[in-house]
């Protein structure tokens, strides 16, 4: 799949992670938007309407769960696939994120950047927005 026109929003409070992610995904032809907290993430999501959102759960100002709920309520953003990317792994967190409408749930520590590129590509290929 041609990823040149795909636009990804990465909502993550750790600056170094955003930098490494942006470097890798831009190298692969994606356009990357970055947000360092939940409120900023929500604003960019509504303004840019990206093709995919990568969302951390522990975020300043607005948690990832709150962002996910708002994204799913908003008619403009409810079809955007949201990949939760976090270090939380408790069954309650996974179930809650999926119940709120996360497309898939990934644990950061288990993914190298190359694995993540492959996973995102696969999500973008397989995601068919509900109409």
């Amino acid at each position: 799949m041609d990823t040149k026109n795909k636009r990804i929003l990465f909502i993550e409070d750790e600056e170094a992670l955003r930098g490494a992610f942006g470097e890798t995904f831009q190298r692969d032809g994606y356009t990357v938007f970055e947000a360092s907290d939940g409120e900023d993430g929500m604003l960019i999501a509504k303004k840019e309407l990206p093709d995919l959102i990568l969302l951390d759960l522990i975020l300043p100002k607005k948690s990832g769960f709150e962002v996910l709920k708002e994204l799913r309520k908003n008619p403009d953003t409810k079809h955007i696939p949201v990949v939760v990317l976090t270090n939380l792994e408790g069954s309650e967190d996974v179930e809650r994120a999926l119940a709120y409408g996360a497309t898939t749930y990934l644990v950061k520590a288990n993914y190298s950047l190359d694995d993540l590129v492959a996973k995102i590509k696969s999500v973008l290929e397989h995601h068919s927005p509900a109409l």
């Binding site: 170094a16 992670l17 930098g19 490494a20 300043p60």
Partner: protein
């Protein structure tokens, strides 16, 4: 009140809290033990009445009931302690693994970017330095987290060795203010000493422990205040104690969270929203170390205006 009583009678719910099977659950075992005691008493009563005088039979039954009840209670209490401890350890491991995994996954990604095979063009020297610095910072975060967790473990096992000596709180604080001014250049740290006498005043405690207490309290002040705000360290004599305090202009602590602020792993709601990386053990460690040095610790706080944390140590005369 009634709901709590009803909840305590709901054995299935109680056992689910311990995350153990029915036969390892203290409440269920207590119920079984009660039934065994009743059967044993009834059997003893029947046999005793057949072979001895009624007064002696009654005494035997009473004595047996008492002994069985005490043994039963001891067994169930022991089970309860083991189940609580297992649950607390599992929560502890879950918190540690999350807090170690955050810097570890950051390091993994930063190394990924630095690896030559992953670079489309060569990274500029400044870019490489940025990632190497981030790796070092994350490595330090892990070292701090592990040190804090080891402290918690030692405190809980009563395994802290004290090396008390007389030292100057002012000297210790001067060093800390210089260090924190470098670590947080966007905050304005100052040390306020009201009179020259305080400079020569010495306290008696474990200096290394008090250095860690100061670090935890100053780190909190910096983490939970905004850029450009001022943080003031003050030392004043108060009867037989030297009172050290750090006042910030930060987010403060909501009144409902204040009673729990020194609890292990507790983080105030606004703190978790402001700063996501905290482990919630700095204040627990600080309080434990001050108490071990026979000192006092406390705070005052107003949400949105700031907090002042203080500790007091005995002055050497």
């Amino acid at each position: 009140m009634y709901m709590r009583i009803l909840d305590s009678l709901n054995i299935k719910k109680q056992c689910a809290q311990y995350r153990v099977g029915l036969w390892q659950c203290p409440q269920f075992l207590f119920l079984i033990m009660g039934m065994i005691i009743i059967v044993a008493i009834a059997a003893t009563n029947t046999l005793a009445n057949r072979y001895v005088a009624p007064e002696i039979a009654a005494l035997i039954v009473l004595a047996l009931a008492g002994v069985l009840f005490v043994i039963g209670h001891m067994i169930v209490s022991a089970f309860d302690r083991v189940a609580r401890s297992a649950r607390s350890k599992s929560e502890f491991i879950s918190i540690i693994s999350h807090h170690l995994r955050a810097p570890l996954s950051a390091i993994k990604w930063q190394i990924d970017v630095l690896l030559p095979q992953n670079q489309s063009g060569r990274l500029q020297a400044s870019e490489s330095a940025k990632y190497l610095n981030a790796i070092r910072e994350n490595n330090e975060r892990m070292i701090f987290a592990v040190n804090d967790l080891l402290d918690v473990n030692r405190i809980e096992d009563n395994d802290i060795v004290l090396c008390p000596s007389a030292f100057s709180l002012v000297e210790l604080s001067r060093g800390a203010v210089i260090k924190f001014s470098q670590l947080y250049p966007s905050r304005s740290f100052s040390l306020h000493i009201e009179s020259e006498d305080i400079t020569t005043m010495q306290v008696y405690a474990d200096e290394e422990h008090i250095r860690r207490v100061i670090q935890h309290l100053m780190d909190n002040a910096a983490c939970y205040s905004s850029e450009g705000s001022s943080i003031m360290v003050r030392i004043v004599p108060e009867e037989a104690f030297a009172k050290w305090s750090v006042a910030d202009e930060g987010i403060g602590i909501p009144p409902q969270d204040q009673p729990r602020i020194f609890e292990k792993f507790f983080r105030a709601q606004n703190a978790a929203r402001h700063q996501t990386g905290g482990l919630g053990i700095g204040l627990f460690v600080a309080k434990s170390l001050v108490k071990l040095s026979r000192g006092k610790i406390g705070f005052s706080s107003a949400p949105g205006k700031g907090s002042t944390f203080w500790f007091a140590l005995p002055i050497v005369k």
